[in-house]
């Protein structure tokens, strides 16, 4: 993956620029370039085991071997592809990555003499020869360096778009030259319909640009907000404890996790595997690198303190039903209009906060009844420089 480059703004800008140019092109010429995929193979770093070994390992993993197997196949729990829903078992890739640097004995112990209720229960019937397990390890090591198999091809917007263009051209040709279709209304309808559909696609793509509502990336640890905030009723601000007084709500430090996980070492569903990552991070002093779910552009300054600490906005209002989310996802679209319209409606706690004492004119208007309530917009919440500076 040569393409991974340094973090920073320039690439972002470049990409936004490219994206905008694309939308611009889309808008004026109707030529879609929605998704161009490139799938580069990652060169395996270590020496290659023989193809045969790998194949055998893969077959074992996928349950094709041994033929007289009485137990579940590995892949039935440790799935290879990206799941659509929370799969509590560590994925094949997860395991591969964990054991890629470790020797076979560790792996064997983990598979054959596992510790932890859940894994013990599911692995108890395992009967695998050492030789075969070695092949499985080889396969997994290979997997770690090549990545999971590519997902099947997706019909993307591009195809639809091109199809519509072809349709439109045909309709136009017919309308002007061939007149094969008897009723002109049909061709006109086809034209209008295709055009309308394309406009809709472009508009949606344009609006969706930079938006990521329902974005729910895979996290390095299968951390479930449902388990923590929902089932165990941990207060949001226990972990995100700076929300009330800092701009950032804060992602809890790994040591905070240890407050509970020093004792809780095994999950009812995930077993030990996921929690072990927390422990490992603490031991190795390598913090977990989470994928950010809620991203605002660099030119937007949002302060949790203002909203949570001062305005006392409920977390759910923006983040949605976090207590029901196994996989954290972006609930609101975080568009500017979404902010602005909330500011237009939200009432300000004007009387109780002595800060607002200096707003003499508004107090007068309140007294004289000119204004029934002071809303955020009245005190300039929709000024540009509230968020953009």
């Amino acid at each position: 993956m040569r393409n991974v480059i340094l973090p920073g703004r320039y690439t972002l800008l470049l990409k936004l620029y490219i994206a905008r140019v694309l939308v611009f092109i889309l808008l004026i010429s109707g030529i879609p370039l929605m998704a161009i995929s490139s799938n580069e193979d990652v060169k395996a770093v270590k020496e290659n085991p023989s193809h045969n070994d790998l194949q055998r390992g893969e077959r074992f993993f996928k349950g094709l071997l041994p033929k007289d197997r009485t137990f579940e196949s590995c892949v039935s729990c440790h799935i290879l592809s990206k799941p659509d829903t929370m799969n509590w078992n560590p994925s094949a890739m997860d395991i591969a990555l964990k054991y890629v640097g470790k020797d076979f004995a560790d792996f064997q112990t983990a598979v054959m003499q596992p510790s932890g209720k859940k894994i013990e229960a599911s692995h108890k019937d395992f009967k695998i020869e050492d030789e075969d397990l070695k092949k499985v390890k080889m396969y997994l090591d290979e997997l770690a360096s090549t990545g999971p198999p590519a997902a099947g091809p997706t019909i993307n917007q591009l195809a639809n778009f091109v199809l519509l263009i072809v349709l439109m051209i045909l309709a136009l040709l017919d309308l002007i030259f061939f007149h094969k279709i008897k009723y002109r209304l049909i061709t006109v309808l086809i034209l209008m319909g295709s055009l309308g559909f394309q406009v809709k696609m472009i508009t949606e793509a344009a609006i969706g640009l930079g938006r990521s509502k329902d974005y729910a990336p895979d996290q390095p640890i299968k951390f479930s907000h449902k388990v923590h905030a929902g089932d165990n009723r941990i207060d949001c601000k226990y972990c995100h404890h700076t929300a009330e007084f800092s701009k950032s709500a804060g992602i809890p430090a790994m040591e905070l996790c240890m407050n509970c996980h020093a004792l809780v070492r095994e999950g009812s569903r995930s077993g030990k595997f996921e929690i072990a990552k927390v422990l490992e991070a603490n031991e190795t002093k390598k913090p977990v690198v989470w994928v950010r779910v809620h991203n605002l552009p660099d030119y937007v300054f949002f302060s949790h303190a203002q909203h949570v600490g001062i305005a006392k906005v409920d977390c759910n209002k923006c983040h949605g039903p976090v207590k029901e989310m196994d996989i954290m996802r972006q609930h609101s679209d975080l568009s500017m209009g979404w902010c602005i319209n909330c500011h237009r409606e939200t009432k300000v706690n004007f009387k109780d906060n002595a800060y607002y004492d200096s707003y003499l004119k508004l107090h007068d208007q309140l007294k004289s009844g000119k204004l029934d309530t002071v809303r955020a917009v009245n005190i300039g919440a929709n000024d540009c420089a509230r968020c953009h500076y």
Partner: protein, 463 residues
């Protein structure tokens, strides 16, 4: 009714209707002359330089131009206003002369309108590219969006400009196009080439020349003519507010809207003259574009030139009379005298004095002098915009900010590119589109034959 005995013949050569069609369509059917290819190649080369300049601008940034913190506008706005001014001629020609029932316009208005469309497209490129982030140009348009919605600033002259220029482009293009529809039908019906018949047939939109069509066509012309007349005045008035609504000394002036409109028509007519003399000479359209036509345009130019001179003097007078030290400085120490005196006086001579030569009939009838003066006026009008933009911006209120402005090769290339684009468009027009409105000429040809068919060609005396 047009009095041929007083005003001279509208077209020469006592042509039959078929002859008119044939003569006007000759360039379309005839073999393309070599000079055309040479001219086209030169134009395309210029255009390529312009395209490269635009590429550089878009990839490197506006920094590739010569502007700075003090002089934030330069050649791009000068050229924009210049092109828009030229783009005024077509509509002004068609509309004003239509309203004034000047039948002689028929020979020229097609060319003028074509020039308008090309010039406005050239003009529109400048404000588009000069934006720091051109790719976001659509933000200028008030469309519902997910930002609140966030609309646009209706107070901004640039928004007015955006509306005015895009409207003007749309209207002048459609005005021009619908004027050509009957002529395309004529080509369709007279050509021998199958391809041409199919292509021009498509562009003729199924025109047959039936009375129903002509009836509505006349109605449409009436409506479009009526409102486009307003547009001619409004567009350059709005362009002038780009300056008049600013507070810069030398900009903030109520004289600007009429001054700009007149100036635009002036430069436009000069460009028409340039073009028409070329048409006359290159395509031997002397029968349609007679000395009379040139004569008439020259007379109009004399008149407008007087207005221009008056406007210049008025501006200077008002600057003195206002007592504003900034205005006085700009006009007296930065235009009449000072660093930009050369440009100012060249502008004054080219625009206010040189056209006065047209008082002389000899000059009016010498096509080469007419051509030269028309070019001078084009240069003079460019200098006028230069004077307005550069002198005001370089030395405004706080002397600490005074800065110089010099264009870079990128800007020059961009300008040359638009000239190339314009001339390429004009060449295409010469080659593929009837240069003169055939049906209109046919209509006026009757004034030559109907009442005065006893006159033999060549026997007729002018005036």
């Amino acid at each position: 009714m047009y009095k041929t005995d007083i005003r001279g013949k509208l077209i020469d050569g006592d042509k039959s209707l078929t002859q008119i069609s044939q003569d006007i369509l000759a360039p379309i059917d005839a073999k393309t002359p070599t000079w055309w290819y040479i001219a086209m190649a030169v134009s395309l080369m210029m255009f390529a330089w312009g395209a490269r300049s635009i590429y550089v601008t878009l990839t490197v940034g506006i920094g590739s131009w010569g502007q700075n913190n003090t002089v934030a506008w330069g050649w791009e706005i000068i050229n924009f206003v210049w092109w828009i001014g030229i783009g005024h001629a077509g509509t002004a020609f068609s509309i004003f002369l239509l309203i004034l029932r000047q039948k002689w316009r028929s020979s020229i208005n097609r060319a003028a309108e074509a020039m308008t469309v090309a010039a406005v497209i050239c003009a529109a490129l400048f404000p588009l590219i000069h934006m720091g982030r051109s790719w976001l140009f659509f933000w200028v348009f008030p469309y519902p969006n997910t930002r609140g919605p966030l609309w646009v600033n209706f107070n901004s002259p640039l928004f007015w400009d955006f509306v005015a220029v895009s409207t003007y482009l749309l209207i002048s293009a459609s005005f021009w196009y619908f004027g050509m529809v009957p002529d395309f039908a004529t080509i369709r019906d007279t050509t021998k080439s199958k391809i041409k018949r199919a292509v021009y047939g498509f562009f003729a939109f199924g025109w047959t020349g039936s009375s129903k069509e002509w009836l509505r066509y006349e109605g449409l012309a009436f409506v479009l003519g009526g409102i486009a007349a307003v547009l001619v005045v409004s567009v350059h008035s709005i362009v002038s507010t780009d300056f008049a609504a600013g507070i810069e000394p030398g900009w903030h002036s109520t004289i600007f809207p009429p001054f700009f409109v007149v100036g635009a028509i002036f430069s436009g007519f000069a460009m028409v003259l340039t073009l028409v003399t070329l048409m006359k000479k290159l395509y031997k359209m002397d029968d349609f574009i007679t000395a009379n036509h040139v004569d008439a345009v020259c007379r109009i130019l004399v008149f407008i030139s007087l207005i221009m001179g008056t406007a210049y003097i008025t501006e200077i007078f008002i600057a003195w009379y206002s007592g504003s030290e900034y205005e006085v400085f700009t006009f007296f120490r930065n235009r009449i005298t000072g660093e930009y005196a050369y440009q100012f006086w060249f502008m004054f001579i080219f625009n206010a004095l040189l056209p006065q030569l047209f008082w002389s009939k000899k000059v009016r009838h010498n096509i080469w002098i007419v051509f030269a003066i028309s070019i001078c006026i084009n240069i003079g009008m460019w200098l006028e915009r230069y004077i307005i933009i550069v002198t005001s911006l370089t030395k405004d209120f706080l002397p600490a900010n005074w800065a110089e402005y010099h264009p870079t090769m990128v800007e020059i290339g961009f300008y040359v590119g638009t000239i190339g684009m314009f001339s390429a468009a004009v060449l295409l027009f010469f080659k593929y589109i009837p240069q003169i409105a055939i049906h209109e000429v046919k209509m006026i040809s009757k004034y030559n034959t109907q009442q005065f068919d006893h006159l033999k060609p060549g026997h007729h005396d002018y005036e």
